[in-house]
């Protein structure tokens, strides 16, 4: 088992992508040192560890520097493969399905989520919210297929797709607050609603979720900064 000095996560508290890395490590019971980065003034370590993108999260492990959250989660799964639970299914087809939906989250859904916060004007915001809802409807459907009556997409335990989607739950609460509408609720997305509760209160998750109020404040600042910058 790794000493905590062997494993480091460079992160930033509002980042849902950083949450993915941390949740995966918690699931595998891996001790690690968490380093909060100031993204306005990036550390030498961050710039050296992720010279291509200069972004968080970065996982540092025994001389290796791993970037990109989903790549980090897969790395964690592969390195600590003997530690339960398995993050990815053992069957290649089921793995492909989990990876497909996680890629959908990052390639399509995340942009809509981001746009609900940063879009200028009501029309753009409405369009973005509609896309977010479309994604959630797809996740609701997939959850039924993949969970097979169990609490998580991964089954009895949190898995790859739970992590990929669940990391955004507090941001979704922030967007619900700003837009004064419910995105995940008992009426429209009853399964996701229950799943969200289970995910957020899971021992590997609950201690690293950001506070909604603090995240909302951060969101407002982010929006203000974004709208000032010429696009």
């Amino acid at each position: 088992m790794a000493e905590s000095s062997d494993v480091k996560v460079l992160g930033s508290w509002p980042s849902p992508f950083v949450l993915r890395a941390r949740i995966a490590l918690h699931l595998k019971s891996v001790n690690y040192e968490y380093v909060e980065e100031n993204l306005e003034s990036k550390s030498e370590l961050l710039l050296k560890s992720n010279p291509v993108h200069k972004k968080v999260p970065v996982l540092l492990h025994g001389g290796n520097s791993i970037s990109e959250s989903l790549i980090i989660v897969q790395y964690i799964e592969e390195v600590w493969s003997s530690a339960a639970p398995s993050i990815l299914p053992s069957n290649p087809y089921e793995r492909a399905i989990s990876r497909f939906w996680a890629a959908y989250v990052d390639d399509k859904w995340f942009n809509a989520l981001r746009a609900t916060l940063l879009a200028e004007g009501e029309e753009a915001k409405k369009a973005a919210l509609a896309q977010v809802e479309e994604g959630l409807a797809l996740f609701e459907e997939e959850y039924e297929k993949l969970s097979k009556g169990k609490p998580f997409f991964g089954g009895d335990e949190i898995g790859y797709l739970d992590i990929a989607i669940g990391c955004f739950l507090v941001w979704i609460q922030v967007i619900e607050k700003f837009s004064e509408m419910k995105l995940i609720d008992e009426a429209n997305t009853p399964r996701l609603f229950q799943w969200a509760d289970g995910f957020s209160s899971h021992v590997a998750v609950k201690d690293v979720l950001p506070d909604v109020e603090a995240l909302a404040q951060f969101g407002l600042k982010l929006r203000a900064k974004f709208l000032k910058t010429p696009q």
Binding site: E68, Q74, Y75, R95, F100, A103
Partner: protein, 230 residues
């Protein structure tokens, strides 16, 4: 593996579908190929891939697998005979996946925009493509034959479009990206890749590609519409 039904839905010029062809051939997997007209999509394609409505689609014994990156991993995991496409070591696997993602996001998109834009827009796209390619050039230095080592691997397959499609983009867009002074390792790799027995027989005809992309350049006005996916 006898009686395994493998079907690949592709489009003749799609570099993404070609990746899957290469992987199947490298592993010696028999498959049936189904040509899809992506400009006039069949109901079947839409049924198989309702989220993106794109090729490639791999159907294996009734199971549908989408997205070229994921299809490659599926093939590697299901038919785990040699050659193995991904390295065994987790940190090498992570690096392979990292560069594949980087190349797709930073090189392919920019190169396609260089193909179909004009003036300053095009200059910028060429510059971005070359900046990203410098990183890949760096990764190739000191590599024996291929990114995968002695044999073609995942990253070679993902980047393979550079060897046969990028020169077409250059010609149609009247730009130079593959500067031999800046990218000697990439060009050397590209030539080895093109000469590989599995690769050279699975390339779309150059003349046909030139006509196709000339049409695309005509139709797409990247300056107006912004970044367009292939």
């Amino acid at each position: 593996m006898a009686n395994e039904k493998v079907k690949l839905h592709g489009f003749w010029v799609s570099p993404f579908a070609n990746r899957v062809k290469w992987a199947l051939k490298l592993k010696g997997i028999e498959y049936e190929y189904m040509e899809e007209d992506v400009w006039n999509k069949s109901n079947l394609l839409i049924q198989l891939n309702p989220v993106y409505k794109k090729v490639p689609v791999l159907v294996h014994n009734g199971k549908v697998i989408l997205e070229s990156f994921l299809i490659l991993e599926y093939i590697d995991e299901t038919w785990n005979q040699n050659p193995l496409l991904l390295p065994q070591d987790p940190s090498q696997r992570a690096l392979t996946r990292f560069w594949a993602k980087f190349a797709e996001e930073k090189i392919f998109e920019a190169a396609f925009n260089a193909l179909c834009s004009h003036g300053d827009e095009q200059k910028k796209a060429v510059q971005l493509t070359m900046e990203a390619m410098e990183k890949i050039e760096g990764e190739l230095k000191g590599k024996q034959q291929f990114f995968g080592g002695e044999s073609i691997g995942y990253l070679d397959i993902i980047l393979g479009w550079i060897s046969y499609m990028l020169p077409v983009f250059e010609e149609v867009g009247s730009v130079q990206i593959l500067d031999p002074v800046k990218f000697p390792a990439t060009i050397a790799w590209s030539n080895r890749f093109l000469n590989h027995p599995v690769i050279k027989d699975t390339l779309p005809p150059k003349e046909k590609m030139l006509v196709y992309f000339q049409e695309r350049r005509h139709i797409i006005s990247c300056a107006n519409l912004g970044w367009i996916k292939f």
